[in-house]
Symmetry: C2
Subunit: 347 residues, 2 copies
């Protein structure tokens, strides 16, 4: 039996307690300061308020953030379960507490753009934030997996990535189950970049959902236009993968993740609202001000691409969908898909 | 004004009469022997019985197959509009009638496997069936485009492929419209292979639709499992593209086409029925015996892959989803997704 400390009691981390406890391991679920109520309720009733599921009846112990030291004591591995908005909090408050010999696995999807236009993954960002001289094995989970379905034991296929294949194999042994299927890759940039980008492009494809629904939202679905944007997304994601130094084979994870993201949740909803003609501000207020990871990653990626284009490293015309999404989000542009700019001639 | 002779009055060819006539060109729509009723009705009323749309009021003339000589007389280009089940009929009866200087554009999607395990595209098959010494420019349309949406003027992005970029540009000029977006490629194998394979894998992904629906068809949709099969499909399609000699960039067309095919029509329906637990024969009879292109192409592709594996050229374990689909269709296997065989380790 191993002991795993999950820091962040959001939906995905909490859903991961199912395969781990079913494998006979123990989970210590630690809430961030934002998870206080979730931990309180779960401790009393076993019910997770946002995942809307009973957590595993055996094998999960609950901790508030003040109990982090006890939660880390004797742990065999740590899971970072914060969203991309909690990355700095995690880096500042939790990374320093994790002993060097305890490997970390992160569920956070996203990337960060730097001043020079380059983008880095969260594992690399975490590594850059470690106290001087400290070494830590930082690994991450990518791939298409919604937390509800994972909690319900539906089949899901993901990739664990990190520098050390032996540590990845150890993590796979802890998490793999008859329904949770894990591939391993040492191409951290490739996996992380692919799954971060899908958020950008899920918003892009969802514009076609809204265009078909029309201003009053009653239009019937069209799929040719969604498929066209899906294909264009794949093309731009492949280019971005290569640009960021990942192997383009990771488009496999990006494609599956793009596919699942288009079907559900807030990214589809905001893309559809924008496609129907809502301004960005109106669309956001329809979502009651929820801050969306797709908006953040689209903004960062576009900022990076624009900087690299200014430097002459890339050509902006290779990313027309990204730039259009960015113009909608950040420059007040109306939705007007640049179809003709998607056309290519390949001789 | 150009004159285009469309041979085959099915849904896709007939839908293509919209952009062409809107561009001021004339379409001569020639029914195959199977299209007799369609032509009869359309000639009288302008209504297309299977496309379920009024065809363009101006610019379309209707011909029965006996009038093919008149229909070809003075034509600037010919469109082959038959389904894959009409390919031999077209090769035997129409190819010999097309003058050498008149280029051909084919909408037929699919591939044919040869005795040695290799697969060829329909343009290459047509070329092999030309009367000895005859030269003809044979081009094709690939990419995600359903005929109903094309007829309704929804945005669609496709690729025209062929050996001669000048002829492709000429075709693009005839067909392109504010809603019909055309890329060009001289990689005929790549485009044709990608769009043929999507039919195989749309069936594969749809198995997850049926597994979620369950035996009685009432289960709710799950997307993690669809996304996992989508990703696996992309991986196998990329491998097949390379194997058949196409550039893997064409996965862009395959992905968009896979996306749209999963949403509609008979391939999704049969995949879902199989996923729910219907035997292949029962599933087919639910569809009232309609012969499906996806079944044909899956069978051909699997036969090709098995032959190449016997020869030691490839490893069957690189195509677990294809082989499973083939075993369901042709060997009476029950649906039992080989999830574990999808897992990879990439160092």
């Amino acid at each position: 039996m191993s002991i795993l400390t999950f820091v962040g009691a959001g939906q995905m981390a909490s859903a991961l307690s199912f395969p781990v406890t079913q494998n006979g391991h123990q989970v210590r679920l630690v809430g961030t300061p934002l998870d206080r109520d979730i931990i309180d309720v779960a401790r009393k009733t076993g019910f997770h308020a946002t995942l809307k599921r009973q957590l595993p009846p055996k094998g999960v112990k609950y901790y508030q953030i003040e109990e982090i030291t006890a939660a880390l004591d004797g742990a065999d591995a740590v899971l970072c379960g914060v969203s991309s908005f909690g990355v700095d909090w995690f880096a500042d408050n939790i990374l320093p507490l994790i002993p060097e010999n305890i490997p970390l696995l992160s569920v956070t999807k996203g990337m960060i753009d730097l001043e020079d236009g380059s983008m880095i993954t969260y594992p690399h960002y975490f590594a850059s934030k470690l106290p001087q001289g400290k070494k830590l094995s930082i690994n991450a989970i990518g791939g298409p997996c919604t937390s509800y379905e994972l909690a319900d034991g539906d089949h899901s296929a993901v990739a664990f990535c990190g520098d050390d294949i032996e540590i990845l194999r150890m993590f796979k042994q802890l998490f793999e189950s008859p329904y949770y299927h894990i591939s391993l890759s040492t191409d951290v940039i490739g996996v992380e970049c692919a799954v971060a980008l899908k958020n950008v492009y899920a918003l892009g494809v969802s514009l076609a959902v809204g265009l078909a629904q029309g201003p009053d939202g009653t239009g019937i679905q069209h799929f040719n236009s969604q498929a066209a944007l899906f294909g264009q997304s794949m093309k731009e994601m492949k280019n971005l993968l290569l640009l960021m130094g990942g192997h383009e084979d990771n488009i496999i994870y990006g494609a599956g993740d793009l596919y699942v993201t288009i079907f559900g949740g807030r990214t589809r909803k905001i893309g559809a609202l924008l496609g129907r003609g809502f301004s960005f501000d109106d669309a956001i207020s329809e979502l009651e001000g929820v801050t969306l990871e797709s908006i953040v990653i689209a903004t960062r990626t576009a900022r990076s691409v624009r900087r690299l284009a200014e430097k002459g490293i890339i050509d902006l015309s290779d990313f027309p969908l990204l730039i259009h999404v960015d113009n909608i989000i950040n420059n007040g542009a109306a939705v007007d898909i640049p179809w003709k700019s998607f056309e290519t001639e390949k001789i």
